[in-house]
């Protein structure tokens, strides 16, 4: 039986208590920077799935607003197939939906079939190839890649991957990490608000990141990488060791933690990957709010239970931006301090474990019902 992600109360607890306030805060920040004339809407990227619950939750809370024409044209999403994208667009009309493999579109690997589509307009008729399926697919992939870049930047990025971040079959650092590198690079692009005006840059964004803990057969390469992050933290800041020991119940080295408590090891190490990718792409995690981690167990019949991690954070831009920094300038002091603060916080602030016992089920159910009611406005026959 498939998991009913949209009505799962544990997941909805994260939506309502982590994602919603984060997005509300982001909107407040945008508004505080806006002049009245240039009031703009929140730009949101998501893997919302057909139910589009996160988008509709933000719609109910008026964090995301449709255009005057009634379209959610500041929402961009990806889904794997054309059918899924089409169904999602019924539920959030006007949202911009990319059908395809997110990582493949973002990374746009060199083709192994020898079809090289050159030029800015990849959809133009090709002179060197026949009009066949492979050529057309390649043209469209290139167009999707270019088109997706044009959608950047976003005020909120919701990377709700629902899968493993590190895949044993992939070489370090893995395709998802490389895709995130590109995404964060593109966050530095300028944009013009739909109502016009001059080019703008964002000085920060909010990031929601979801992944499964694991996998159990994670490769040695990945383990080394993860161990390396924590070891380095402990080496560079001696005040962290007591905190580490306290958190791990007395364990004093990372290798032992990895063997004895992989879950906690993953929890302490994985956020550093995110933090490092952000720093190398000219961003850093806002130390004031830091990273908040929610964890819950997903149980489905006939499937081994597994644990999900939801990370939420605010991200700030490094200033001056890279283009205005000399080569090898190193990290600005405030970025280094922010990194240290976030590391401290990861070692001290535990994850929030979400269980059916510690959530307000009645309130969450009512909230879910309200969102589903909202969806009926756009797609009355959704439940048929």
């Amino acid at each position: 039986m498939a998991i009913d992600y949209e009505r799962d109360l544990l997941k909805h607890h994260v939506r309502a208590n982590a994602w919603l306030p984060l997005c509300q805060n982001r909107l407040r920040r945008i508004r505080s920077n806006d002049t009245l004339r240039q009031k703009r809407r929140l730009r949101y990227f998501t893997f919302c799935a057909v139910g589009a619950m996160d988008v509709l939750m933000l719609d109910v809370a008026k964090v995301i607003k449709p255009s005057k024409a009634g379209r959610f044209d500041t929402v961009v999403f990806f889904d794997k197939t054309n059918e899924l994208v089409q169904k999602t667009q019924q539920r959030i009309p006007g949202a911009i939906g990319f059908p395809g493999d997110f990582v493949k579109v973002v990374l746009l690997d060199d083709p192994d079939d020898g079809i090289v589509i050159a030029g800015q307009d990849s959809l133009l008729p090709q002179t060197n190839y026949d009009d066949d399926h492979r050529v057309r697919q390649r043209q469209i992939l290139v167009a999707q890649h270019q088109g997706f870049i044009r959608q950047f930047p976003f005020d909120v990025i919701n990377l709700d991957l629902e899968e493993f971040l590190f895949k044993p079959s992939e070489t370090l650092p893995g395709r998802v990490i490389n895709a995130m590198r590109r995404v964060f690079e593109w966050q530095g692009r300028s944009f013009v608000a739909p109502q016009g005006g001059s080019e703008q840059y964002i000085d920060g964004f909010s990031l929601m990141f979801t992944t499964r803990i694991g996998p159990e057969n994670i490769s040695a390469e990945y383990l080394n990488m993860l161990r390396g992050y924590v070891d380095e933290n402990l080496r560079q800041d001696t005040t962290l060791l007591p905190l580490f020991q306290e958190r791990t119940g007395g364990i004093d080295n990372v290798a032992t933690l990895q063997q004895e408590n992989f879950e906690l090891f993953f929890l302490l190490a994985m956020p550093k990957v995110l933090s490092s990718v952000l720093i190398e792409t000219d961003w850093y995690i806002d130390p004031v709010s830091g990273i908040t981690i929610y964890e819950f167990e997903r149980t489905t019949p006939n499937v081994e239970p597994y644990r999900m991690l939801h990370l939420v954070m605010d991200v700030k831009r490094q200033l001056p931006i890279r283009n205005y920094r000399p080569p090898r300038a190193g990290l600005a002091p405030e970025v280094q301090q922010a990194y240290q603060a976030v590391v401290h916080q990861i070692f001290t602030r535990g994850e929030q474990r979400v269980t059916i016992e510690n959530i307000d089920r009645a309130r969450l159910q009512a909230h879910l019902d309200r969102i589903i009611e909202q969806r009926r406005l756009y797609c009355p026959d959704q439940d048929q």
């Binding site: 255009s67 024409a69 009634g70 054309n82 994208v85 667009q89 167009a143 999707q144």
Partner: protein
């Protein structure tokens, strides 16, 4: 006796080149949904990216066996449903060529069909059409040309989970052609492009503000053409004057059929109200005639928007609908109308609902008619007669009336202006007399002239000649009379220089607001 045969290649060609626009191909799928008793068809274009197209209905669906039959030689050979067969809600059967599903092949190279019938086994299949089919057909490629049939593609069964599928049929493109995507994406960058509102009534207002749909681009054209050609109701019973479509709309509403594209619930894109010049209309009550033993029944309306060109241009002309489906779009030749009606033909729109007949006059693309088919000829002659006698004749009279009224108003305004000019100069009240006096000295040559008298009550009476006595162009006569009048006023001065000065001054004042 030797038989005349048509090669199957002809059909294979049709599978790739039948429809002239994406809307025409989609319209065929919508017709299929209508015949399948669907109450709703949802079309998705992936706006604003256009990487895919999909059509899904909630109709009867069809079974895996039926699909196999269609794919295994049944394309273009579908059992046509009887014309007398009644569908749900009393809908008439549209019927079809049976190639509709492959119509999407003009836009994409592969697609997924999923169908869950109310009775029988549903299915999900991926259909892949051969690339470069035309070239292969022309080169007699053995891969596609067989002894009895022509392969245009192949299909594969996909996993079908009945519990996750809704009743009805859906077709989702997989491989939309880059040229289609590019064209639609680029059209969103047109200067006049506006984001289409989800409220169709608002969208129709936007369309009414442009000369041609092309200004708004391909996406708007797709929306408009689908709305115009699909069997959906009007926005309301009152979108046209004189309750022209009241009964037709009631019938359309009774069919319970919606077409929703990208969240926009389409209605017919017609909204003509509040034209300052009014409208000339003719309601065609149901007509019926037997032609070569077959009935042709139709009804509809003709309308002229007096004095104002219709917007968009695409609304001009006459749309013929056979069993509620538009055949082509509005025909601006008015079914080859042979009279030149000048600008009035740009004010005319009309719709003819053919409830029975005319199907045999349809060309294979269902977008046009064989113009020499006797059934078409009958409809054509009827409409031309009504255009001539009930529409353009009335419209012409109205133009004359409007023109006369306008002339009268202009004449009155100018006359008042002349009075003002003279009155300001003489500081006397001015009256124009209809009593014509003639200058005796010029009587013999019959040159019309102006006489001026001063009455006792501080009033000046100007006797003007009848305009038609002036031998000049009609349009100059009132001006000529006015100049003669100010000339006479100037002559009242004693000195010649003063006469000249007054004449110039009055002439310039007169022309200031003429």
């Amino acid at each position: 006796m030797p038989k005349i045969l048509v090669h199957e290649k002809a059909l294979a060609h049709l599978s790739r080149g039948l429809y002239r626009s994406p809307a025409s191909a989609l319209r065929e799928l919508v017709s299929n949904s209508w015949d399948a008793n669907a109450t709703e068809v949802r079309i998705g274009t992936n706006y604003p990216l256009f990487y895919q197209l999909s059509v899904a209905d909630n109709g009867d669906g069809f079974t895996r066996k039926e699909f196999e039959k269609i794919m295994g030689g049944g394309i273009g050979n579908s059992t046509k449903r009887s014309e007398t067969e009644k569908l749900k809600y009393g809908r008439p059967v549209i019927g079809r060529l049976g190639i509709g599903m492959l119509g999407i092949a003009q836009i994409c190279g592969s697609f997924i069909v999923t169908s869950k019938p109310r009775k029988g086994q549903g299915f999900r299949a991926r259909v892949k059409l051969f690339d470069l089919l035309r070239e292969k057909l022309d080169s007699n490629d053995e891969l596609v040309i067989k002894t009895e049939e022509v392969d245009v593609g192949e299909y594969f069964w996909e996993e079908y989970d009945e519990s996750s599928v809704e009743y009805g049929t859906s077709i989702t493109s997989e491989d939309v052609h880059p040229t289609f995507i590019r064209s639609f994406q680029n059209s969103l960058k047109f200067e006049s492009f506006k984001e289409p509102p989800l409220d169709w009534e608002k969208a129709v207002k936007i369309v009414s503000g442009v000369h041609s749909l092309q200004e708004l681009g391909d996406y708007w054209r797709l929306l408009w053409e689908l709305a115009a050609s699909c069997p959906v109701p009007y926005i309301s019973d009152n979108v046209l004057p004189n309750k022209l479509i009241g009964n037709i709309n009631k019938k359309l509403k009774s069919y319970h059929f919606r077409v929703v594209i990208d969240g926009i619930d389409l209605k017919k894109p017609v909204y003509l109200k509040n034209n300052p010049g009014g409208y000339t209309t003719y309601s065609i009550e149901e007509q019926s005639k037997t032609i070569y033993g077959k009935s042709v029944d139709f009804e509809g309306y003709l309308l002229v928007q007096e004095g104002t060109q219709l917007h968009p241009d695409e609304l001009r002309g006459i749309m013929i609908r056979v069993r509620n489906i538009g055949i082509g779009y509005y025909d601006q030749t008015m079914l080859d109308y042979r009279f030149n009606e000048g600008p009035r033909s740009r004010w005319l729109t009309g719709e003819i609902y053919v409830n029975r007949g005319l199907e045999n006059a349809l060309n294979i693309d269902r977008d046009s008619f064989n113009r020499f088919h006797p059934e078409f000829r009958y409809v054509q002659e009827f409409i031309h007669e009504k255009l001539r006698s009930k529409i353009f004749a009335v419209s012409y009279r109205k133009i004359e009336e409007r023109s006369n009224k306008k002339k009268e108003t202009v004449s009155k305004t100018r006359s008042a202006h002349l009075k003002n000019v003279i009155s300001e100069h003489t500081s006397l009240k001015v009256n124009f007399s209809k009593t014509i006096t003639r200058d005796k000295s010029h009587n013999e040559t019959k040159i019309p002239s102006v006489a001026i008298r001063e009455s006792k009550s501080q009033e000046i009476i100007v006797d003007l000649p009848k305009e038609d006595t002036l031998k000049t162009k009609k349009s100059y006569r009132q001006l000529a009379v006015a100049i003669l009048a100010i000339f006479e006023i100037a002559l009242r001065e004693k000195e010649l220089p003063k006469k000249r000065e007054v004449f110039s001054e009055l002439l310039l004042k007169l022309l200031e607001e003429w």
